[in-house]
Structures are given as structure tokens and as C-alpha cells.
């Protein structure tokens, strides 16, 4: 059976070149970067080269100028950013502003902080997933210690007006963190132009290996490490560095930076054609997220009258891999908080599918995908009480 992955948001394979760059660091250059002897040298250099590459991807030209702290994941970077700044306790106040559509690695720690007495303000988004700069401005007060709003949403793809949002916070000297996990490598990012104080990204979203994330930290921002111990990563993240993964992240960042435009256009072209085909052949589809301001690889649709997990399972049987709701929470029960936040009605939110294109997505597969999707939708609709209700109502309306 032909297998077609449309779930590259959950995981990307490691690029051949990336793996090649990593391999020597498992066996040959296996030293500890902290070692004072020759075995530490290559790993240490490789670490700094990777840091420079990751920096370059987010617009840092001079490696020494700003800090990139390597972590093991985007989740860890997000936790380091928020808990790090809160527990460093430099700023007085207890209000933290975020958006309603952040990843759980933002929202769940904020829920914990809320229990500890912090005031968490979740800005609503409009029906396309956009945060309103005006609402951010209103939400800021002199107790505000941090704003954390993502660059773009993994699930519905919507890209925020980050520069504008940052400017509002910066005017009041409030630090701004942004989760760029879904965006890095797919849209141009420049931390200096954006003005963000912290930015999260990860390698496994851009054909790098799992196990390497990064937090950009602007000069002057003080954090308390989440993992305390040795003085690795400028004292902000203890533990022997995962050299092969970081090297892979660096190489993946280099490739992403070099080919950014080509890659973006390629996945966007596939995505657009897939969307056109699906909407043409399958009735009752709904697009989720912003029609234009969206990540190039992201297509999110709701298949009316049917439920997402059942769709996912049926498509899986056909060798087509998608996710329903956020890929990281597909084991959870409820419909995604993101779709709730954009006001998607529950029956549509339940039937949402994230179709995430990748570099190996082929336009010639679109007719096949469309056919299978159409079959599966029909099959599940045929057993859906909502669909039969709709048909009945349609008939009644026709009879009137």
C-alpha cells in the first residue's frame, strides 16, 4: 500500500545531510564538550557552529551578540522562558499575558502559575485565529511581567502580527516571548527586527532530529535555569549537551535557512492544490485558520458531520496519515482548544483534520488523496446521525 504522510507537523524525518553531519558525533567525536582535553574540542566547536546556524535562521548575524540556549525540546524551551523569567523575579508583578491558542507547553505551565497566584490573561483570537493588538494593549498593566504569544499556530497555521504585538509590549518595557516552533524554517524570522526578547524553536520541525530545541534570549533578560547543575549553556541549562542532536539541529537550520523560500513555496503550492482538490470534490468542508496569513505547509479543514479520530483511523487504513486536533494531544478527548478559541462550532471542531505538507509531499498524489478522503468522508457520513438529520432538513426545505 502506498503510504502518504500528511502529518509532518507531528514529526519530520531527519534529512540525509543532517544525519550525515550527526553521525561522527556518536562514535568518533563522542567527547564531552566540557572536557579540557582534545576529545572535548570537536564537540565544543560543533556546538558553537550549530549555535551560529540556529542563530542565523532567526536573524542573528553575530553569533556572540545574543544567546541561544539549547534545550531538548520546544516544550523545554517554552518552560525555560516562562518559568525562567518568572522565577528570576527581576520584575515585580504577577500578570502574564498569553493567547488562547498557545501550545500546551505554554498554557499548562501558566495554569500551574495561576494556581500559585499569578494572574494569567489569555487573549481571545478572532475567527481566523488572530490576536488583536488593541486587546493586547488593553490587557497590559503595571503588574505585567511577561507576554508570550506564538509566531504561528501549528494546528490552524495562523501567523500573528508579532512585530506589532511586540512593539506594544516593548513600549511599556514588558518582556515578550514568542513560540516560533511551528514557524521557524518556514517563514523568515528576524529576532532583531521583530524585537522579541525570547524565542522558542526546535529542530524536529525542520528535518532535524528529535531532542534539540532552542531558546533565544536577548541580552539583559535574566532567567533562572529550569535544570540546575553544571555551567553548560551559559549556566542556563545544566547537563551534558546532546552534541549529535544539536549538530543535527544546526545542519537542519542551515538547510532551512538556505532553502527557506524554495521550501515554503513548494509546500504552499502542494497545500493550495490539495485544498482546491478537496474542496472541489468533497462537499461540506470548512477551512480553519486564516485564509492568507498562514504557514505555508498548513491546511486545516473540518469535515462536517463526522468526527476526526474516526476519519484519522479510516485514512490510516488507507495509508494516509493525518492528525485530528493538535498532533500532540490526539490522545486526549476533547476537541482542540484552538478550534474552540476561533469559535468553531463543536460538531465542526470535532471533525477537524490537520493536513501538514512536507518536503516529500507530491502533487501527483493529490487525486489519490482526494479520492480516499472523499470515500472515507462518505462512509462515515453514511453512519452519522448528524448527516441524516441534515439530509432530512434539506429535503424538508426543498419540499417547502
Amino acid at each position: 500500500m502506498k503510504e502518504i504522510n500528511l502529518d509532518y507537523a507531528a514529526a519530520t524525518p531527519v534529512d540525509e545531510k543532517v544525519l550525515e553531519a550527526m553521525l561522527p558525533f556518536f562514535t568518533e567525536h563522542y567527547g564531552n564538550p566540557s572536557s579540557g582535553h582534545n576529545l572535548g574540542e570537536k564537540p565544543r566547536q560543533a556546538l558553537e557552529e550549530a549555535r551560529a546556524e540556529v542563530g542565523r535562521l532567526i536573524g542573528i548575524e553575530e553569533p556572540g551578540k545574543n544567546k541561544i540556549i539549547f534545550t531538548a525540546s520546544a516544550s523545554e524551551a517554552n518552560n525555560l522562558a516562562i518559568k525562567g523569567i518568572v522565577t528570576a523575579g527581576k520584575r515585580r508583578g504577577n500578570r502574564i499575558i498569553t493567547s488562547a491558542i498557545e501550545h500546551f507547553s505554554i498554557l499548562n505551565q501558566l495554569r500551574s502559575l495561576e494556581k500559585e497566584g499569578y494572574e494569567i490573561v489569555k487573549l481571545p483570537v478572532d475567527e481566523s485565529g488572530l490576536v488583536s493588538p488593541g486587546q493586547l494593549k488593553e490587557a497590559l498593566n503595571d503588574q505585567t511581567i511577561l507576554v508570550s504569544i506564538q509566531v504561528a499556530n501549528t494546528e490552524i497555521g495562523t501567523i500573528q502580527p508579532i512585530k506589532e504585538l511586540v512593539a506594544i509590549a516593548t513600549e511599556q518595557e514588558i518582556p515578550f516571548h514568542s513560540d516560533a516552533t511551528a514557524a521557524a524554517g518556514w517563514i523568515p524570522l528576524n529576532v532583531e527586527a521583530l524585537g522579541v526578547d525570547m524565542l522558542t524553536l526546535a529542530g524536529d520541525q525542520l528535518y532535524g532530529p528529535k531532542g534539540a530545541g532552542a531558546l533565544f534570549v536577548k541580552r539583559g533578560i535574566r532567567l533562572r535555569p529550569l535544570i540546575e547543575g553544571g555551567i553548560q549553556e551559559q549556566g542556563l541549562r545544566a547537563g551534558t549537551e546532546n552534541v549529535p542532536a544539536i549538530v543535527g539541529f544546526g545542519e537542519a537550520a542551515r538547510l532551512a535557512y538556505t532553502h527557506l523560500q524554495k521550501r515554503s513555496e513548494q509546500v504552499a503550492s502542494f497545500r493550495d492544490k490539495l485544498k482546491e482538490s478537496l474542496f472541489k470534490e468533497i462537499p461540506h468542508l470548512h477551512l480553519n485558520g486564516h485564509p492568507e496569513k498562514r504557514l505555508p505547509w498548513n491546511l486545516n479543514i473540518s469535515v462536517e458531520f463526522v468526527e476526526g479520530e474516526a476519519l484519522l483511523m479510516r485514512l490510516n487504513m488507507e495509508g494516509i496519515y493525518v492528525s485530528s486536533g493538535s498532533s500532540c494531544t490526539s490522545q486526549a478527548l476533547k476537541s482542540s482548544h484552538v478550534l474552540d478559541a476561533i469559535g468553531s462550532p463543536p460538531e465542526l471542531a470535532q471533525g477537524s483534520l490537520l493536513l501538514a505538507a512536507g518536503l516529500k509531499s507530491r502533487e501527483e498524489d493529490i487525486p489519490g488523496i482526494t479520492e480516499k478522503m472523499s470515500e472515507v468522508a462518505s462512509l462515515l457520513r453514511k453512519m452519522s446521525p448528524l448527516y441524516h438529520q441534515y439530509l432530512k432538513e434539506a429535503q424538508n426545505n426543498a419540499n417547502v
Binding site: 468526527e307 474516526a310 483511523m313 460538531e347 470535532q350 453512519m383 452519522s384 446521525p385 448528524l386 441524516h388
Partner: protein, 127 residues
């Protein structure tokens, strides 16, 4: 789906008895899309036995498998027997359900019982 048993996968892949019986003697509808799952059972009763049973289901893989299994378990049973079918039995017959899917078996049993009660009420009304 490795968290689903083979039985669940079988019933999900080939759900039995989909549809609506003609001139249903009893209708049982539970859930709504807001809670995530929705099932509608229709039954034909003859001589106090469930002669035919069909359903429509909006829901996850487990919900579909549960509906299918319930329809098979109930068919041919007397109403009293069918009323004794519990969510636990349904889950067991399916070779178990993941913890976060147990509510689906509740829905299945509930919808069946509702259809039977609907039938009984209608019978009562007729008398």
C-alpha cells in the same frame, strides 16, 4: 490505534447493522456533538424480542465499535435481557477499551436502553 483491541478495530472497520430500521418501534438517542459523541439506535421489537436493531453514530473509533457491538449483542435478545447489557459487558466483549474511551461504552448501553424504554413507553401509551 494500537491502544485499540483487535475486536474494536474489527468493529470499527466493518461496523455491523448501520442504519435506521423502518418504522422503528423504539428510538434511543444519546449524546451530542458538544460532548463529542452521539448515537441513535432504532429497534424493531417482535414477541418481546429485539428483532432488528440499527444505529447511526457520530464519534470516534471506539464509539463506532461500541455501537456495532451493542447492536450485535442486543439483536435477538428479549427486552429484559437487553436491558441487562451493561457498559462493562460491552467493553469486555470488545476486548477492553482504553481508559479515556470508557465513556463510549456507557453511551452505547445508554442508547440501547433508551430505545427499549422508548418502545415500552409507546406500548404503555397504546394500551
Amino acid at each position: 490505534m494500537p491502544m485499540y483491541s483487535e475486536k474494536v478495530m474489527d468493529h470499527f472497520t466493518n461496523p455491523r447493522n448501520i442504519g435506521e430500521v423502518d418504522d422503528a418501534d423504539g428510538v434511543g438517542e444519546v449524546g451530542n456533538p458538544v460532548c463529542g459523541d452521539m448515537m441513535k439506535f432504532t429497534i424493531k421489537v417482535k414477541d418481546n424480542r429485539i428483532e432488528d436493531i440499527k444505529y447511526f453514530t457520530f464519534g470516534c473509533g471506539a464509539a463506532i465499535a461500541v455501537s456495532s457491538m451493542v447492536s450485535e449483542m442486543a439483536r435477538g435478545k428479549t427486552l429484559e435481557e437487553a436491558l441487562k447489557i451493561t457498559n462493562k459487558q460491552v467493553a469486555e466483549e470488545l476486548g477492553g477499551l482504553p481508559g479515556n474511551k470508557m465513556h463510549c461504552s456507557n453511551l452505547g448501553a445508554d442508547a440501547l436502553h433508551k430505545a427499549i424504554h422508548d418502545y415500552m413507553e409507546k406500548q404503555g401509551a397504546k394500551k
